[in-house]
């Protein structure tokens, strides 16, 4: 026989388990709030900003608690978060500014069905 390995199973920390389910509940509630906005608010820039903001809150909880990044050393936190901040900057610049600029320079016009009072006098 090889040597037997003595494995001691440590008892469950109820507080820790409750903490995990609490994060799950927060994620579910934020998703519920997103649904409330999706159904009760008209589409527009403000609603999009709210959606992105709530998404970042959810991302924070997943990365910080589930992926445990919030409990790592500062160096690791920054080496992951800083590149992502630059990427978000790039996204905002490309999407909001470049997308809109390409649209107007190509002369692309939004579609408004006949009978609606929206008048487009872009050119």
């Amino acid at each position: 026989m090889e040597q037997t390995v003595n494995v001691v199973v440590q008892p469950v920390d109820k507080e820790k388990i409750r903490g995990i389910w609490k994060i799950a509940l927060i994620l579910a509630v934020i998703t519920g709030i997103e649904y409330a906005f999706a159904f009760m608010m008209d589409a527009g820039t403000l609603r999009n900003v709210i959606f992105v903001g709530l998404t970042i809150v959810k991302a924070f909880y997943i990365v910080s608690e589930f992926m445990h990044l919030g409990h790592e050393v500062k160096g690791l936190i920054y080496s992951v978060i800083l590149p992502m901040i630059f990427i978000v900057w790039l996204i905002v610049a490309l999407v909001n500014l470049e997308g809109g600029a390409v649209k107007s320079s190509r002369g692309i016009v939004d579609y408004a069905p006949a009978g609606s009072e929206q008048v487009d006098d872009a050119h």
Partner: protein
């Protein structure tokens, strides 16, 4: 002497040191995930860029009809639920998919937590639930894709490029990479690329989960003395959940 890893200037480069107090495997998983996040950012930038430079629908949402001329309202595209044909249930099915993925992320955290306590049975149990959640999500996505490809009951009339020539006023049902009934060709192409790339990540995650599930059940990690592999796989799995949170917002809500 040779086996002790003391951190002094002499031994700093000779191995056994954990930079950032994370093991080699975990650190490399973090940097892989960072690079993967760049890939997904590239896809989402492409999506948002094409969407914001495409014609938008400015009329009343209740009068909305599909056309290849302007970008569709997502709620009008994703309003189907299995077994409820013809009933408009906007975003309910994606909500279910989101719920499944978040739950499977929670069971993964519980597996990691059980691993910290060297609780083999706990790890095996929660890994199994995570695998079931992943398979459930993939099944939902398979249904969603087949519904998206097949399309609705009403055709969209539009000009399409088919079999090497332009067809004017063609009846379009469903979607493929060339044209679709919901909006401009880029709409369906981006749907396939982004949810497909994410789905492929979920699929590889399920495969890795199954491998570690069997390893844990066979006592491999118990013999090793730690369940770090579960933590590394867990990082990947949470990342997949994280990406879905963003895909959900950008694709289905905005």
């Amino acid at each position: 002497m040779a086996n002790t890893a003391t951190i002094s200037n002499k031994s700093l480069w000779s191995g056994g040191v954990e930079p950032l107090k994370a093991s080699y495997g975990k650190l490399m998983m973090w940097f892989f995930l960072l690079s993967d996040a760049f890939t997904f950012s590239g896809l989402l930038i492409t999506y948002a860029f094409l969407r914001w430079s495409a014609p938008a629908y400015k009329g009343d949402p209740s009068d909305f009809v599909f056309s290849t001329e302007y970008w569709p309202i997502p709620e009008k595209v994703y309003d189907a639920f299995p077994g409820f044909h013809g009933v408009e249930l906007p975003l309910i099915f994606v909500g279910l998919m989101t719920f499944i993925l978040i739950l499977s992320s929670v069971t993964m955290v519980l597996a990691v937590e059980a691993g910290h306590r060297m609780d083999k049975n706990g790890v095996v149990k929660w890994m199994l639930w995570t695998i079931i959640g992943g398979i459930a999500f993939l099944s939902c996505q398979a249904w969603e894709w087949s519904h998206f490809i097949t399309g609705g009951d009403v055709a969209t009339i539009g000009d399409i490029f088919k079999n090497g020539r332009w067809v004017e006023n063609a009846e379009i049902f469903g979607a493929n990479l060339g044209y679709n009934q919901y909006g401009p060709p880029a709409f369906a192409a981006l749907f396939f690329f982004i949810t497909g790339f994410h789905g492929f990540h979920v699929f590889s995650g399920v495969v890795i989960n199954i491998i570690t599930f069997f390893n844990a059940a066979n006592g491999m990690y118990e013999k090793r003395g730690h369940y770090e592999m579960i933590e590394k796989v867990g990082l990947y799995w949470h990342f997949v959940d994280l990406v879905w949170v963003f895909v959900f917002t950008f694709f289905y809500l905005i």
